[in-house]
């Protein structure tokens, strides 16, 4: 059987198994094992690849950022940040909708997990939104859309996985995610202000109330400083920064702000232990899948199709990749998608002479959009379940919000200088700059 035919068979089997209801991890492994029968590769080495796929110190950051999200969500410490958001933007039109978005921006700086964000908001503010007359479908759509910022504003689990598998600076990806993350936040706030439900209009909170709420949130808001400060100063790797943030929550935050939660910690750890195994099990399967894609020269085949249309034009290649990942993100979870398609992404970045960090942030922003698009919009699925509204209705209410995401993706593609400005200032090596031999400055590519 020819390589493209094996590639097609493997992909089809994965999709057929997956859509029949086989768990993603086993659907991926099943597809790879069948494909292996048509290649000279031994089954033993493909099973070995499952282990090698997760045998990476960098991927350790994933459980740490999930643990941080889980601890923040279960200990109710995050409600203090909701209070702060309420004092800052609760008086605007669509007050609670604005609170959802602002809180998500704060929470995104602490947790790398969109699902943790959805869990916190659904348990707390969704009930208040229902009381104020926001329709449930809008609430679910907004919570899910806002939660996607957790994967853009640092720390981000997608950035960790992308950096670890694509050999791209994770610190650089964290910083490059800030612009699209903030753009999505602003876009959602603008939409809620002009087009969302009005809610109950409230008076602006007095300054003293803002100060009290800010003081109450001060300890949780130290976490982004620990994470990014540690990484940028070179004290910690992203993995260690995640660990330090988790330890900070355990020994400072919970004892200081919710001492009663200490007895629940064993349960938090057990559940976080289970939670991190889910994406990383998929990573193990996807890494074997990605390895096979590379072995079968999938990158050359796809690159051939794309360059036949786009030539070597980096922008057109990127737009075609965006189109491809909008479709991929509709059907496959982002983490396995990154790993499966990484050989193709790298090949196309090389062909189009695209900065690897720019390519990374474009792909992540596109995959983040997949979290709210059917049929596999994980954040929207979870939000609609928690809020108690049909997925179909939540999808309909999400449609106008898609414009915010599409505009953000287009901005990220079209303005690399703006997107890469922050990493260029703070982590110049991450965008390809190198130290000038004769001075203290950096020489950067144009």
């Amino acid at each position: 059987m020819s390589a493209p035919a094996v590639l097609l068979l493997m992909t089809l089997l994965f999709l057929v198994f997956g859509y029949m209801g086989v768990p993603v991890t086993f659907a991926l492994i099943g597809g790879v094992l069948v494909a292996t029968l048509f290649t000279p590769i031994s089954m033993q080495s493909m099973v070995g690849q499952l282990f090698h796929g997760i045998d990476s110190e960098t991927l350790l950051a994933v459980p740490f950022f999930l643990l941080v999200g889980e601890l923040m969500a279960s200990s109710d410490v995050a409600t203090r940040m909701i209070r702060l958001s309420q004092t800052l933007v609760g008086h605007l039109r669509g007050g609670l909708a604005q609170v959802v978005t602002l809180f998500s921006m704060f929470f995104a700086g602490i947790s790398g997990s969109s699902v943790a964000d959805v869990a916190v908001l659904s348990r707390t503010i969704a009930h208040d939104m229902a009381k104020e007359g926001y329709d449930r479908a809008f609430t679910a759509a907004l919570i899910a859309s806002a939660s996607t910022m957790a994967n853009l504003i640092p720390p981000s689990i997608m950035a960790v996985v992308y950096g670890a598998t694509g050999d791209v600076s994770i610190g650089g990806l964290f910083l490059a995610g800030v612009v699209p993350g903030v753009l999505i936040g602003i876009g959602l706030m603008v939409y809620s202000y002009f087009f969302g439900p009005t809610g109950v209009m409230k008076k602006r909170a007095p300054f003293t109330e803002v100060v009290v709420a800010a003081r109450g949130s001060a300890l949780p808001l130290v976490i982004p400083v620990i994470i990014m400060g540690g990484i940028l100063s070179g004290w910690f790797t992203p993995t260690e920064a995640g660990m330090i943030a988790a330890v900070y929550i355990l020994i400072v935050l919970i004892p200081a702000l919710n001492r009663g939660h200490v007895k629940e910690l064993p349960r938090d750890f057990m559940y976080a232990g289970l939670l991190y195994s889910l994406p990383l099990g998929a990573v193990a399967g996807a890494s074997a899948f990605g390895w096979m894609v590379a072995f079968l020269r999938g990158p050359d085949i796809v690159a051939g199709y794309i360059t036949a249309f786009a030539g070597n034009d980096g922008t057109i290649i990127m737009l075609l990749l965006v189109a491809m990942f909008v479709i991929v993100g509709d059907f496959i979870d982002a983490v396995p998608a990154i790993i499966i398609f990484m050989p193709i992404i790298r090949k196309l970045a090389e062909v189009g002479n695209i900065n690897s960090l720019h390519m990374g942030v474009v792909i992540i922003t596109t995959l983040v959009f997949g979290l709210i698009t059917p049929p596999y919009g994980l954040s929207l699925l979870v939000a609609s379940k928690y809020v108690g509204v049909g997925f179909g209705k939540a999808v309909v209410r999400s449609l106008p919000l898609y414009i915010v995401f599409l505009l953000t993706i287009m901005f990220t593609v079209a303005f690399p200088k703006v997107v890469l400005w922050l990493p260029k200032q703070l982590l110049p090596e991450s965008v390809g700059c190198f130290k000038a031999p004769s001075s203290t400055g950096y020489i950067c590519p144009p």
């Binding site: 859509y19 492994i29 094992l33 499952l50 045998d55 350790l60 660990m243 750890f269 195994s277």
Partner: protein
């Protein structure tokens, strides 16, 4: 609604043998132990490095607990039906078509699990001759978890196949979930 954080998940009870509840509970505890241990070892790694007396073997302890955690969690998630799914189409089905698809799905998982056991075991034996530097721990210490997880996944899949065949795959929570989705 089921308590998703419970040690033994009560969802899809009709697919479970009581005898294996303890295994699920032990696996959940192991999930917690793994994440707690690699958090601790990563912390000690930073502390000892900062103090100028790095314990190099700590990184290997960290990665070992991390990898074990992934595969232990994979096994636990199989019994709890907690894995990521592309779709939960079967939950909307009833009767014979549902049983047929559920059985086929589990047979696919079973075949994968058997492959993990057989080829994972061969790898683990081969890895007895490979060592991690600087601690000289045999690589088998890490990779043996693959066939072990395969055994557990196979066991839980057989449990679900047998009980699903006897009691049906549909549970009351499926109806609740469909109702929630349609509301």
């Amino acid at each position: 609604m089921a308590d998703f954080r419970a040690l033994v998940l009560q969802r899809h009870r009709q697919l479970k043998w009581k005898a294996l509840d303890k295994v699920e509970a032990v696996l959940m505890v192991l999930c917690g132990v793994c994440i707690a241990m690699f958090t601790l070892s990563a912390l000690l790694d930073v502390v000892t490095r900062t103090l100028g007396v790095p314990w190099l073997w700590l990184q290997q302890v960290t990665t070992a607990f991390f990898a074990w955690g992934v595969f232990v969690g994979m096994a636990a998630a199989t019994r709890r039906n907690d894995h990521f799914y592309l779709t939960e189409i079967t939950k909307r089905m009833t009767g014979a078509p549902r049983s047929a698809i559920e059985i086929v799905n589990r047979l696919i998982v079973l075949v994968v699990a058997v492959a993990l056991v057989w080829f994972g075991w061969k790898n683990a034996l081969l890895d007895l001759g490979s060592f991690r530097m600087p601690s000289l721990i045999p690589l088998t210490v890490y990779t043996a978890i693959v066939p072990a997880a395969g055994v557990l996944v196979a066991l839980f899949t057989i449990e679900q196949l047998v009980n699903g065949w006897k009691n049906g795959f549909e549970g009351p929570e499926d109806r609740d979930e469909i109702r929630e989705t349609l509301l």
